[in-house]
Amino acid sequence: MLEIRNLHACVDGREILKGIDLTIPAGEVHAVMGPNGSGKSTLSYVLAGRDGYKVTEGSVLYRGQDLLAMKTEERACLGLFLAFQNPVEIPGVTGVNFLKTAVNAVRRSRGQSELDAMQFLKLARRKAKELGVGEEMLRRAVNTGFSGGEKKRYEALQMALLEPKFMILDETDSGLDIDALRVVAEAVDSFRSPERAMLVITHYQRILDYIVPDKVHVLAGGRIVQTGGKELAVELESTGYAQFTEQAA
């Protein structure tokens, strides 16, 4: 589903990703862990196509296509979804309005008919309920004044509405309380299917108890320095990253 080859990327002229190789076949969940500032979010931005994140070398194939040649919204319409580490506030724009526009943009690109206000509201209410997102949140401005945990749930809600094929969860577990973590993680896990794949960025192995990964990678200093099975996450919890940061330095 996703094939990253020798990916180098710069931000503000500084190289952050220094040759990433990573292949995630359809149906698999891969976790990425690593110290602060190692480039995890940068990787997610590069994959999603954020302005200012310049790819200097390498290639990314997504569902057989050249991902890096596509616009941000084209990637999104092709089913790439990023749950942000820090979702931005958009004052004045209600969730209903924003999400309906997004859902219809994606539906349009898939050749599906657009949902009208009533149809969308029905869908949004159902999904919100499943994720424990209060209905009044839909009427509020996007992310505006949301608590940290509320923002994370809202990201999960958007994922559920947009039904992506490949999702990147950037520390979706941070900020969620214990019960919310279970609800959100279970919802994400229920998304697993042979046609979908996931990249779960996290600092804690707890979320991986719910979303059991096929592989765990350690990203340090802009490179993947180790890959293992789900037991690697447990191991890291006790050993930390010292060995890798020394290695990378």
């Binding site: 302005d51 200012g52 919204e73 999104a76 931005v88 958009i90 724009v93 924003f98 999400l99 997004a102």
Partner: protein, 480 residues
């Protein structure tokens, strides 16, 4: 051209008394002088007092100078190089839709203007155009039952001279300011509304229908009077973009609200803004003022300004009656090389008068957007209150936003609050929206509409939808 030349030579010959009778073709020569004003007045069959009023205005205008305090730049306007009465019919006007600039048609189409209206708006002579003529008549019957007068200004001069005489110039005196004075001298038509005591006008009144039937010129005059306890909501007729080759528009709108009356005046202005290079476009110099003359009366101005090359406009409220309320809700969007200098004046005269101002300015491209507002509290306005909220949103790095609030308070019990913010659409917001599948333009439109929400919600329902579409249209090409 021949026609005009002919007229000119005629008028040159017998300047004093010549062309008034000679002109059958409704063609007056270019330029402005007393004779032109007499001609306008005669053509309209106006009473003597109105002609006198026009002439007085003209004399004052000659002594006035064009204001230059606005943050606006434009080449000098040659007032003698314009037609003040029934400009000659364009001989080379478009014959069919195929002759019209496709870009313009596209705009109408996006706005959902029906095809036959699109043709008319674009200036194509179409027979059997408007069903709305009959709509207007149906309207009229219903309004007449309630005693509401809603007619063209010229008609009102004939049918209700006492009302016109009483209220014309009572809010905006003929000598008020350069553009209003010019309008007073040469106005050709406009609308008149009178709502009798205790009557709530059951429908939104709009010039839209009427203007299709009788094309009014560049100097419109609107007068709306709500008698005691009356209510009316009025929509200014630019629900569809007006294609107009006139460079200068100098309209005057006067509102009068008596005891406990309420007037809501909404405008969605989408006149030709000029092209991407800043060529062409309308200069819109408008004087709009409402007098809350009665106790506990209320006037609210809501405007969405997206068109015109230059906008110079300060809808104001004179809060004379005790407990009266003035409101100003404005969205001004400027793109490319558009310039807008707009705002309001709230003059607190009566006791416990209140005013509320929300101004949202959006600039993109190389545009300049200025909010200029005055809140003035006179000594007797015990307990006056004002709240002003001015927000500016910038798209890109080459546009400007300015806020110029003037506050003059001569009563220590007055409470005046002013809050101003300037923000930019952040790259982060755009990225977030695009990551969800929105195109950059969709994202900008959504964010801008969100920014303007506090104002748009004051528009009548059907207008609000249109205004949102307009926001999208006027920002087209502002990103990417």
């Amino acid at each position: 051209m021949d026609g005009i030349e002919q007229v000119r030579s005629l008028t040159d010959q017998k300047y004093k008394y010549g062309f008034v009778t000679d002109i059958e073709a409704d063609v007056a020569p270019k330029g402005l002088n007393e004779d032109i004003i007499r001609l306008i007045s005669a053509k309209k069959g106006e009473p003597e007092w109105l002609l006198e009023w026009r002439l007085r205005a003209y004399k004052v205008w000659l002594e006035q100078t064009e204001p230059n305090w606005g943050k606006l730049h434009y080449p000098p306007i040659d007032y003698q190089d314009a037609y003040y009465y029934s400009a000659p019919k364009r001989k080379d006007g478009p014959k069919s839709l195929a002759d019209i600039d496709p870009k313009l048609l596209e705009t109408y189409e996006k706005l959902g203007v029906p095809l036959h209206e699109r043709a008319a708006l674009a200036g194509v002579a179409v027979d059997a155009v408007f069903d709305s003529v009959s709509v207007a008549t149906t309207y009229k019957g219903k309004l007449e039952e309630l005693g509401i007068i809603f007619t063209s200004f010229s008609e009102a001069v004939k049918t209700h001279p006492e009302l016109i005489r009483k209220y014309l110039g009572s809010v905006v005196p003929y000598s008020d300011n350069y553009f209003a004075t010019l309008n007073s001298a040469v106005f050709t038509d406009g609308s008149f509304v009178y709502v009798p005591p205790g009557v709530r006008c059951p429908m939104e009144l709009s010039t839209y229908f009427r203007m299709n039937a009788e094309k009014t010129g560049q100097f419109e005059r609107t007068l709306i009077v709500a008698d005691k306890g009356a209510y009316v909501s009025y929509l200014e007729g630019c629900t569809a973009p007006m294609r107009d080759e006139n460079q200068l528009h100098a309209a005057v709108v006067e509102l009068v609200a008596l005891d406990e009356a309420e007037i809501k005046y909404s405008t969605v202005q989408n006149w030709y803004p000029g092209d991407e290079q800043g060529r062409g476009g309308i200069y819109n110099f408008v004087t709009k003022r409402g007098a809350c003359r009665g106790r506990a009366s209320r006037i609210s101005w809501t405007q969405v300004e997206t068109g015109s090359a230059i906008t110079w406009k300060y809808p104001s409220c004179i809060l004379q009656g005790d407990d009266s309320v003035g409101e100003f809700y404005s969205v001004a969007i400027t793109n490319n090389f558009q310039q807008a200098d707009t705002g309001t004046k709230m003059i607190h005269i009566g006791r416990n008068t209140r005013s509320n101002i929300i101004s949202k300015g959006v600039s993109a491209g190389h545009a300049d957007n200025t909010y200029r507002g005055l809140v003035k509290v006179l000594p007797k306005a015990q307990g006056a209150r004002n709240r002003t909220q001015c927000d500016s949103l910038l798209i890109g790095n080459t546009c400007g936003a300015h806020t110029v609030p003037y506050i003059e308070s001569r009563n220590s019990s007055a409470r005046i609050e002013h809050e101003a913010t300037t923000s930019k659409i952040s790259e982060e917001q755009l990225f977030y929206a695009r990551q969800r599948g929105l195109s950059e333009e969709e994202a900008v439109t959504l964010i801008v509409n969100g920014f303007c929400r506090d104002v748009l919600q004051h528009l009548p329902m059907e207008f609000a939808v249109e205004a949102q579409k307009l926001v999208a249209l006027s920002l087209e090409g502002s990103v990417g």
